[in-house]
């Protein structure tokens, strides 16, 4: 029984890897799109299996409460994005922006990204996790540069430089963690495994842990897109193909955040080390306020929502930095809701950009008349993302604010200030785009609205009624986070 369960976690990594190889070989893009969808669908099913049955951990992969949340979320969004990217790529090929070789490269990279992300989430040792995040970054760098326009290249180059510096810092942090663990756990492999690290954490040298956390926070923080290291995110989102920006803001940010959370747990286990909370809160608030102000000046629709991703990652980092069961629960819920809503928004934005032939907000007007389905889905997405009541994001923001009030009332003021700023800016921009006299459309778009409706309905469901077992699941994860 346990043997094949062990297989399940491996399958999560194996399937995308095999699919990547197959897609690299597959010439016809239509068939490769189908393979892509089936592969991500299979991985999602396996993730669901993980949900039901607790596989016994061994080897390089391990599963516990925390990373199941991330795995299920990322495989689901990976699956829906693959469905979306099928129709998106068809349109791109018709309009000639992508050649079929590009598409082959794109699908291969897509599946390798999925494989890397699942590996990062399930990796039992910190080195393997670092490698997986590194591979994920490199694949996304390649995909951002796929269009080969000067802007795309510049964005990819910037993403690469900043990403690599971030990853280098993270590697240095990992080495420092190993150095800290080595005297206690002895040399070799088991000084890197999460379980042993967590159990022996109190004996580590606290000063080493502090320095290590600084590097890890800045390193993986760059991947999460927190304030001082966020520069790559808007350009990467805007210049890359839309499925990639959906995957980027839906998944990759969460994977990096997962890494940060793991190391935060390590830090909190060791009492002598500094508490990681204040650093995360500072970075979270900085990115929230900075992104909120930047929203007012954005002219490009994808950059607008990229900054909104930075803002929401700021809120999530703030919530996790705040600590305590309620704040952690809020952070987890907010992360799930944000990934679902943001990828839904990027789905509609992708089709809108294709329909209008431009990404400049000034040239996109009257969407609800010219493209009613897309227009209203964008409005629904934005209503969700700015946190209006019936939807899930309001629930999580409300919990975050109330938990902040409970523990540090003074911090609640900048938090709410940032939320209001972002609310105003996004509403301002969206009303401009969605209503008014419609601008001419460039081409007809066969929009696949299924994934978008799926995401938004999940967010609405979470907003209206949180299923009880989901709540208990998140709660014990929140307790785990400490």
């Amino acid at each position: 029984m346990s043997a094949d369960l062990f297989m399940v976690s491996n399958a999560l990594v194996a399937i995308p890897a095999i699919a990547a190889v197959a897609l690299a070989v597959e010439p016809a893009y239509r068939r490769s799109a189908v393979i892509n969808v089936c592969a991500s669908g299979a991985t999602f099913l396996f993730a669901l299996v993980l949900l039901i049955v607790e596989p016994e951990n061994g080897g390089y992969l391990f599963v516990d409460d925390l990373n199941i949340v991330f795995v299920v979320l990322s495989t689901f969004i990976g699956f829906t994005t693959s469905v979306y990217s099928a129709s998106y790529i068809d349109h791109e090929i018709e309009t000639g922006r992508l050649t079929s070789t590009n598409v082959r490269f794109y699908h291969a990279m897509y599946q390798s990204l999925m494989c890397a992300m699942n590996l990062a989430l399930l990796a039992s040792n910190i080195g393997l996790m670092w490698v997986a995040v590194e591979v994920a970054t490199l694949t996304t760098v390649l995909m951002v540069g796929i269009y080969r326009t000067p802007h795309a290249l510049e964005a990819a180059w910037k993403y690469f430089i900043l990403g690599s510096v971030g990853i280098a810092l993270a590697l240095f942090g990992t080495i420092l963690i190993y150095m800290a663990a080595e005297p206690v756990l002895g040399q070799g492999y088991d000084a890197m495994v999460w379980k042993t690290l967590m159990s022996q954490a109190p004996q580590f040298n606290p000063r080493m842990l502090n320095v290590a956390f600084v590097f890890l926070m800045l390193g993986y923080g760059t991947k999460v897109g927190l304030a001082p290291m966020h520069a790559w995110l808007p350009d990467a989102h805007a210049e890359g193909p839309t499925p990639i920006s959906a995957v980027l803001s839906g998944l990759l940010l969460n994977v990096a955040l997962y890494a940060v959370l793991r190391f935060k747990m390590l830090l909190t286990a060791n009492a002598a080390a500094i508490t990681p909370g204040p650093l995360m809160i500072a970075l979270g608030l900085a990115s929230l306020i900075m992104a909120a102000f930047m929203l007012y000046r954005r002219g490009d629709i994808k950059r607008l929502f990229a900054y909104s991703s930075i803002e929401h990652m700021g809120i999530i980092a703030f919530a996790f930095g705040m600590g305590g069961p309620l704040a952690n629960f809020a952070g987890l819920l907010h992360m799930t809701m944000h990934s679902l809503t943001k990828s839904a928004i990027f789905f509609s934005v992708g089709h809108i950009a294709q329909a209008k032939g431009t990404q400049r907000i000034a040239d996109i007007r009257g969407l609800t008349q010219s493209q009613p389905a897309l227009g209203w889905s964008l409005v629904a997405g934005v209503v969700a993302i700015i946190g209006l009541p019936p939807l899930g994001i309001f629930m999580s923001e409300f919990l975050a604010v109330s938990s902040t009030f409970a523990r540090q009332p003074l911090l609640a003021i900048p938090l709410v200030f940032g939320l209001l700023l972002a609310f105003g800016a996004l509403l301002l921009r969206t009303t401009g785009m969605a209503f008014g006299a419609p601008t001419p459309d460039v081409g007809e778009v066969k929009a696949s609205m299924l994934p978008l409706y799926a995401h938004l309905s999940l967010v609405l469901l979470a907003g209206v009624y949180l299923p009880s077992h989901l709540v208990t699941w998140f709660q014990n994860v929140a307790r785990l986070l400490g």
Binding site: G166, V214, L218, M229, A231, R303
Partner: protein
Amino acid sequence: MNGSGERSIERLGGLIHSMPKTAFLFLGGCVAISALPPLNGFVSEWLVFQAILLSPSLPQWTVKLLVPAVGVALALSATLGAGCYIRAYGVAFLGRPRSEAARTATDPDRWSLGTMAVLLTMCLMAGLLPSLVIDTISPAAKDFVGGRMPTQAELSWLSIAPVAESRSSYNGLLVFVFILFSAYSARWIIHKFGSARSRRAPAWDCGYIETSPMTQYTGSSFAQPIRRTLGVIAFSVKERLDMPAPGDMRPARLSIEIKDRIFDYLYAPLTRAVETCASGLNILSLLTIQEYLALVFGALVFLLVLVAI
């Protein structure tokens, strides 16, 4: 509105002739909402005033002083409300029709009239029998506010005394009956002893004959005195009169420029502040890769120094 198809009251007028039933119901509504005695508006205003009169027993100083100010604000708003309903009813329903649409307006169908009538009778009932209304509402208020008003039912003659009989009491039914009785008795006596004859003739209007409907008071002219007295304080109203030189055939133009102070002194600076911060921070998006790296590098060095200390 759907009777006449017009929205702006400046083009209505004289609807009382073309839409008599709506006029009557609208009048009832205006009387109720301007808190005039026989109807329900007055009962609630009266209870609020009684509450204000209890304020000396409040312990906190600021609230004690604040409450009379609120009282005068309420009184001012009640009378201004009455003034604006006089204006609305007078300009729209009374006087002579100012446009074809007003002249040919017709009463709406039975159903809408019916609903208006039902609502008006409810207002009248609440005005006349306030004790019933208070008894039904106060349990709801109890768990909201904690205390509850003494039950009014057993008070004699259906009057209401929120605190105590000796302190103050009000009997809507009696006042209404009193008014009706004296109005009809006066009418009966006059018709009996004086004359009941009446005759139609063109309006006297101090000798002006056949003035056009345009000379009637419009909404803005009706509001001009109040605008001059209170408007200056509230809204910084500026009136500019552009009188043509003698012999110049240009019509004189009176233009009024009303600026809302709160908008100028609260919202405008707020938006300016957000805009400046936004453009200030915008340079962050225009940096070169080097400068972004410098940012990360700075953060790293700063944190390392922090940890080192």
